[in-house]
């Protein structure tokens, strides 16, 4: 992938900032998401909560289903492929997808290698639990990062843990002397140049969103205040009582994440939130997939 293409792909993520990316499974849901103010949609056959409930191997969605969603909305359409499954990624690129999520929500196809994302013209977003994972994915060509959180749970604790850890590690790198960065690169298992970038700019070289467990406007505001540049909402919307209303409220909460008075209004009368599972109650930690 040429540098120019990588820049264009990073730039698209910049345009998504301050926005909410919503999981949708049908063209109708995609329209509800767009009308509620989603800045992009993630097309997938089953939302993470249902993947978790169904068990078994979960794979890339049917391209026909993704195309139906591409036709239904004018905003960017993303789709997920399995970690390391570059053939699924090639298929998604062939149907002109706007962003590929190489995602731990699906069953990993490779337990050692991620996709060499530099070989693709379409952009990739990848999950990360800490700075090392984030920079390793960026080194492989990811143009956007999101926290892994714990998908399909409605429990925000893991996303908070991952975002706090990443921000703390960024602050630590920023505070090091330049001659200490070589050792830091060794510890993080990432190239020196990426460590130097973080040290100098006090941020990741690409946009960083929150994902995994966001269920309420307050969850979204919490992640934004912790330093997320936007939010993915997976199961939280279409597993709730009133998806359109909740989706619109989360969009407004991200735009005004520091305004507690507005957040209070937005949190009123949203109907049933997704039931949710606490992290201690689940058997499968998706965040452990792909390091």
């Amino acid at each position: 992938m040429e540098q120019d293409r990588f820049e264009l792909n990073k730039n698209l993520a910049q345009m998504l900032k301050g926005g909410v990316i919503m999981d949708v499974t049908t063209p109708q849901q995609a329209k509800i998401a767009e009308e509620a103010g989603a800045c992009a949609v993630m097309a997938l056959e089953r939302i993470p909560a249902d993947i978790r409930a169904a068990g078994g191997v979960s794979r890339m969605s049917d391209p026909k289903m993704i195309k139906g969603i591409q036709q239904a909305v004018s905003i960017p359409v993303m789709a997920k492929c399995r970690i390391g499954h570059f053939a699924e990624a090639q298929i998604l690129q062939a149907i002109d997808i706007d962003y590929i999520d190489e995602s731990e929500v699906l069953s990993p196809a490779d337990d050692k290698y991620h996709i060499d994302k530099t070989k693709f013209a379409v952009p990739f977003v990848c999950g990360a639990r800490d700075l090392g994972e984030a920079l390793r994915r960026i080194n492989e060509g990811a143009a956007m990062i999101r926290t892994k959180g714990e998908p399909g749970t409605g429990d925000i604790v893991q996303a908070v843990r991952h975002m706090r850890k990443m921000q703390a590690e960024i602050r630590r790198l920023a505070s090091l002397a330049e001659d200490e960065l070589f050792e830091a690169a060794k510890e993080l298992q990432v190239p020196y140049e990426l460590v130097l970038y973080v040290h100098r700019h006090k941020k990741l070289p690409v946009v960083n969103f929150a994902a995994g467990g966001v269920a309420t406007p307050a969850d979204a505001a919490l992640m934004m205040q912790l330093g997320a540049e936007g939010v993915f909402v997976g199961s939280g919307i279409f597993k709730s009582g009133d998806p359109a209303k909740r989706a619109a409220a989360i969009v407004k909460a991200v735009a005004n994440y520091n305004d507690a008075k507005m957040l209070a209004e937005l949190s009123e009368d949203l109907g049933e939130a997704m039931v949710g599972i606490n992290e201690q109650e689940i058997n499968l930690l998706m965040a452990e997939r792909g390091k």
């Binding site: 345009m15 301050g18 591409q70 013209a121």
Partner: protein
């Protein structure tokens, strides 16, 4: 001089950095209450026009800003901002301010694989770098609007009075010439 930057969604921080580099102060417009602070110009950043259009209305910003633009507030729209200002959009029924007599085509180069960078002559500024991200272009301009840049045979920048639009993203470069051009328009408006 003080510039208000629409900050409901999109790449507004990049514009704020460009203004800071030019020594101009700015503030973020996120809700109706933010309009209390007086300002001399408005920037509508890149992002998703559908999201921005909805939030402008839901957050009580749409009507007061439209009135200000109609009364001559200098405004600079990039990419999504261009669509918010366009009177006509060929392939979308949604309209926002519709204060500028241009005909736009949304997502005119297709999806992300159609995004590209180029260079083109900008009237009075010389050759400038251009980045198009799922960008629109301008299919035609009315009698009052002036074409400022053409890339690959398509109109990609125009102005009409104190309204300036670009289909590309000057805020993604360190090159500050287009922002300076806008500020000169805003400065000429006085206040």
């Amino acid at each position: 001089m003080k510039i208000g930057v629409l900050a409901v969604q999109g790449a507004f921080i990049e514009h704020e950095k460009a203004l800071a580099a030019l020594g101009v102060s700015c503030f973020e417009l996120r809700k109706a209450g933010d309009l209390k602070c007086p300002f001399d110009g408005l920037i509508l950043p890149g992002g998703e026009s559908t999201v921005q259009n909805k939030l402008l209305r839901d957050l009580g910003l749409f009507a007061p800003l439209k009135e200000k633009i109609e009364k001559g507030l200098p405004v600079f729209g990039t990419c999504a901002g261009l669509l918010l200002l366009a009177k006509e959009i060929v392939n979308d029924e949604r309209r926002c301010f519709a204060t500028m007599d241009i005909v736009a085509v949304r997502n005119a180069y297709g999806r992300q694989l159609g995004s590209f960078s180029a260079q083109a002559e900008f009237k009075g500024l010389g050759l400038i770098p251009l980045t198009f991200i799922r960008a629109p272009y301008i299919a035609g301009v009315g009698a009052e609007a002036e074409v400022l840049a053409v890339a690959d045979g398509r109109i990609v920048a125009a102005r009409q009075g104190r309204q300036l639009v670009t289909a590309f993203h000057p805020e993604l470069y360190d090159d500050l010439r287009v922002h300076r051009y806008f500020l000169e328009t805003a400065g000429a408006a006085g206040s």
